[in-house]
């Protein structure tokens, strides 16, 4: 494929900043407030609507997205985001204030209640909260629930056990909740090392956080035994839902012995990633843990929906009910796909990952993987290979992670790619690998910007147009 990304360049920059197009200043006078309660002036860009329309259209053209082409970031599940879900979320009836009475917000409450039920069925859980606004917030919520549960039993536990290969958020979430993190080394086969697990578990273990399939796509085949071991020491088993797309309709965390899980609806249920968010990270639990879920819960009686606070609840993890519009889109996706669609999504996601890996001139050290695989760039620098892939008109995979795979290229094509686009993607992988060191180091050249100096950016942080003006 011959690819050139849009590039609006002039002099020493690309599209100028809004402030460079027209900086305007408004003095605060004729204020309805006494002078001492107001600021003096506001300086912001002052541009007309057509100028803004062109600015943002150009910026959009200088941005890669799922609708631009393959975006196989491992662990991110960059699926197609169905267009109709945007229309549904833009329904004026959805745009309501959170402090309305339940009597006047029955539609919202019904939708939330049903989504709780959908997610409970999909995860094999007994109860679900929709409040956490992202996956990491879900982890934090789940760990707080575990803590509240242990405390309710008069049980003071201090540790959360996490495999070294887990997402960085797991470690950070457990630490935020006040736990010491016990890191579990990966076994030789890429899975949980059962002996190391046995050594790590103790009466101090509050929970084991596990991703399954794990971050190189392997299913933890010993999951039932793992669950027993964790439960035997009185700990809880936490499921990181980042890789749930691989399991849809094939396996449910609840059936495997997990007590708590979060769902990444922006991954598994196709709500748009929005350039970094918003997502949503609902949390499901087994019935024993339900009393501790965040307040309020949505309850139903005789077709009437209400909000209810529970006494043992951990309280709140978001000022209100989380990322409502994202939840609407997730509901729409599930309502569209149903059983057949959800099961097909996991089937095609796993098929695509396997087919793609088969086409690559790269070693994939850990098999059998599911929806994602970690290829290794061997003696090449995975980050350089990734930069070169950009020139072939695809987004590269997640690089150099997980760390136990040398020069890892963690690749998750998702179910949305057809064979042709997988072949294009494979070509980009293989062509980049065949290119010279010089070509790799000089890449990319066909994207909007050339290789960006990351070290310089961190050494001399310039975080605003004001900082640039001060130079």
């Amino acid at each position: 494929m011959d690819f050139d990304q849009a590039r609006y360049a002039r002099d020493d920059r690309y599209e100028p900043l809004l402030s460079e197009k027209n900086a305007a200043r408004e003095e605060i006078d004729d204020s309805p407030l006494p002078d001492e309660l107001t600021r003096d002036a506001v300086e912001l860009p002052g541009l007309s609507e057509p100028e803004l329309a062109r600015h943002y259209t150009r910026l959009s053209q200088m941005n890669w997205s799922v609708e631009s082409g393959p975006y196989p970031l491992g662990s991110c599940t960059m699926k197609y985001n169905p267009s109709f879900t945007e229309d549904v979320a833009a329904d004026p009836n959805a745009a309501i204030h959170p402090d309305r009475s339940p009597r006047t917000s029955q539609g919202t409450l019904e939708l939330l209640y049903e989504l709780q039920d959908y997610l409970a069925r999909i995860g094999g859980m007994d109860a679900v909260t929709l409040q956490p606004p992202a996956g990491a917030a879900g982890e934090f919520t789940g760990i707080l629930v575990a803590k509240a549960y242990h405390e309710s039993n008069g049980d003071d536990r201090s540790e959360v056990v996490i495999p070294a290969s887990a997402h960085g958020t797991n470690f950070a979430s457990a630490a935020m909740a006040g736990y010491d993190v016990v890191e579990l080394p990966s076994g030789d086969d890429g899975r949980v090392d059962m002996e190391a697990l046995d050594a790590a578990l103790s009466e101090d273990t509050a929970a084991l956080m596990l991703t399954n399939p794990n971050t190189v796509g392997l299913f933890e085949r010993d999951i039932v035994e793992i669950a027993e071991m964790v439960h035997d020491v009185g700990g809880l088993l936490y499921y990181d839902g980042a890789n749930l797309n691989a399991l849809l309709g094939r396996g449910r965390p609840g059936d495997m012995g997990f007590d708590i899980m979060h769902y990444n609806v922006h991954k598994t249920f196709a709500t748009p990633h929005g350039g970094g968010g918003p997502g949503a990270g609902p949390v499901g639990v087994v019935s024993e843990l339900e009393p501790f879920l965040p307040n309020p819960r949505v309850r139903e009686k005789g077709g009437n929906y209400r909000l209810e606070d529970a006494e043992d609840s951990i309280g709140k993890v978001h000022g209100y009910t989380g990322n409502w519009f994202v939840l609407v889109k997730a509901y729409a996706y599930i309502a569209r796909l149903g059983d057949a669609g959800l099961s097909d999504a996991s089937a095609k996601a796993v098929l695509n990952a396997n087919y793609l890996a088969e086409q690559l001139d790269y070693e994939v050290p850990y098999e059998p993987f599911h929806h994602e695989f970690a290829a290794t760039a061997g003696d090449r620098d995975a980050a350089d290979v990734a930069k070169r892939m950009l020139d072939y008109g695809v987004h590269p995979p997640t690089t150099k992670w997980p760390e136990f795979v040398p020069e890892a290229m963690l690749t998750e094509p998702t179910e949305i790619e057809n064979r042709d686009s997988l072949d294009d993607l494979a070509h980009a992988f293989n062509a980049a690998m065949a290119d010279s060191d010089e070509e790799l180091e000089n890449a990319p050249s066909r994207t909007t910007a050339r290789r960006i100096d990351q070290v310089g950016a961190a050494r001399d942080p310039q975080l605003s147009w004001q900082a640039l003006d001060d130079e």
Binding site: M78, S101, L463
Partner: protein
């Protein structure tokens, strides 16, 4: 009706060829899941056409009653220009993710850089991140930041006794794993009781939090004193506000704020059932302790200015349990919408909108006060968007009757309501006043 996922493009022949290429007999055999934990795929969830799914959702949402909302208390909205809805939906923005490859995502990075810059201007503080989830989590992150920086000592977080429940509860949860404790200080006629706060402040205080406007809509008059008071005990002064109020009220940096948090989704978003955009800005010296993502300017190999995520060693994917926060996915797309809305308004539009928030509240309070048995505002303060109303009759009954007339207001206590006016409901204030008179 579709067979399987409508968003998986494989034809049957293609699927067969791909299975053949990987040497698998069928799709099931690709799953390495032990038999005892296999699931049969029967969730009991129906599949629908796009049209049927749309109808299902719209008929469910139609059960929300049509009301004119005079509601605020931390969740606000203003008229969102069509340009924001239209351009933010461009799929290049909407369907992208975190800019791990900056060379191919300059567009979104520049939007976020511009958003950060707008917050720098409005707060007067030099560092703004590119989003927290909402005002409550931003406040909670500020408290955790105060615990990490050397400039602040102690473990007490002081917050106003009148504070949104959600903020307080989130704050409690975020500090539960630290040695921080949260205590309240009294309010005096809606605003901070500065003398009482002064009595409570000692070297054990890590952060003092105040809001402008407060949750009751009053405008603080003694922010500088609060800032000095915090400074004297080596505590951070964290100021909560919102993006519209920043356009008119005292600049946070000018009153000594060390951290500014609050709701930025008041621009760019309609009422969103509480979904928000947490703004977070702070001083340069706390840069390496900031939670969340930061976009910086740098240069590319061609010598041109280019943008990239920076200082990522603060973040969870590098620093793991020693990260400044666990936040990963954030509210980037909301930040894009907010930045577009701010740019659309320009400085004059933003200042005018903020002034309107003061004058509309003032005039509605005056009109309501003319009704028998009603007094507004309860607090003898200046107000922004909203104010508390005293009613001789039970407030709950009045609110309920108003609801039947098509208006929503807050019930604050037995004889107190709270009413919030913005450019969206301002055209209906006369009808609200008439309905009030009707139900009294």
């Amino acid at each position: 009706m579709t067979r399987g996922s409508p968003y998986a493009p494989h034809t049957e022949a293609e699927t067969a060829a791909m299975l053949d290429a990987v040497g698998a007999a069928d799709e099931e055999s690709l799953f390495d899941i032990p038999e005892d934990v296999r699931f049969d795929g029967e969730f009991g969830l129906e599949e629908r056409s796009e049209r049927d799914a749309t109808t299902l959702l719209s008929s469910t949402l139609a059960k929300n009653k049509k009301l004119t909302e005079f509601l605020g208390r931390g969740h606000h909205s203003h008229y969102v220009p069509s340009l924001v809805n239209d351009l933010s939906r461009r799929s290049e923005f909407l369907t992208s993710y975190t800019q791990y490859q900056p060379e191919i995502t300059q567009g979104f990075l520049q939007v976020l850089f511009e958003y950060q810059s707008m917050l720098v201007e409005l707060t007067g503080l030099p560092v703004a991140n590119c989003s927290m989830y909402d005002a409550a989590t931003a406040l909670a992150e500020a408290a955790r930041l105060s615990n990490r920086v050397r400039q602040a000592s102690g473990h007490r977080i002081l917050v106003p006794e009148i504070l949104h429940d959600g903020k307080r509860s989130v704050l409690d949860n975020y500090v539960a794993g630290t040695d921080l404790t949260v205590e309240t200080y009294p309010m005096d006629d809606g605003n901070v009781d500065v003398d009482a706060l002064s009595d409570l402040a000692d070297d054990e205080v890590s952060m003092v939090y105040a809001e402008n406007p407060t949750v009751r809509g009053t405008i603080e008059e003694r922010l500088t004193e609060i800032g000095e008071l915090a400074d004297e005990v080596d505590a951070l002064f964290c100021l909560g506000t919102d993006i519209v109020a920043l356009g008119l009220l005292q600049e946070p940096a000018s009153v000594g704020a060390d951290v500014v948090v609050g709701e930025a989704g008041a621009l760019g978003m309609p009422n969103a059932y509480g979904m928000g955009l947490g703004l977070f800005a702070t001083r340069e010296e706390f840069l390496r302790q900031v939670p969340g993502r930061l976009v910086g300017a740098s240069e590319d190999a061609g010598g041109k200015r280019a943008y990239t995520l920076t200082l990522q060693t603060r973040e969870q994917h590098i620093r793991k349990e020693r990260a400044t926060s666990n936040i990963c996915t954030n509210q980037a797309w909301v930040a894009l919408r907010t930045a577009m809305h701010v740019a659309y308004l320009g400085p004059d539009g933003l200042v005018d909108l903020a002034k309107q928030c003061v004058t509309d509240a003032e005039s509605l309070a005056a009109e309501l006060s003319e009704l028998r048995g009603v007094r507004a505002p309860v607090h003898d303060r200046h107000h922004f968007r909203e104010f508390v109303v005293h009613t001789d009759q039970p407030a709950k009954a009045i609110a309920s009757d108003l609801e039947s007339e098509g208006f929503a207001v807050h019930v604050v206590s037995e004889h107190k309501l709270q009413v919030c006016v913005s450019d969206l409901n301002a055209p209906k204030v006369d009808q609200l006043v008439a309905a009030f008179e009707e139900v009294l």
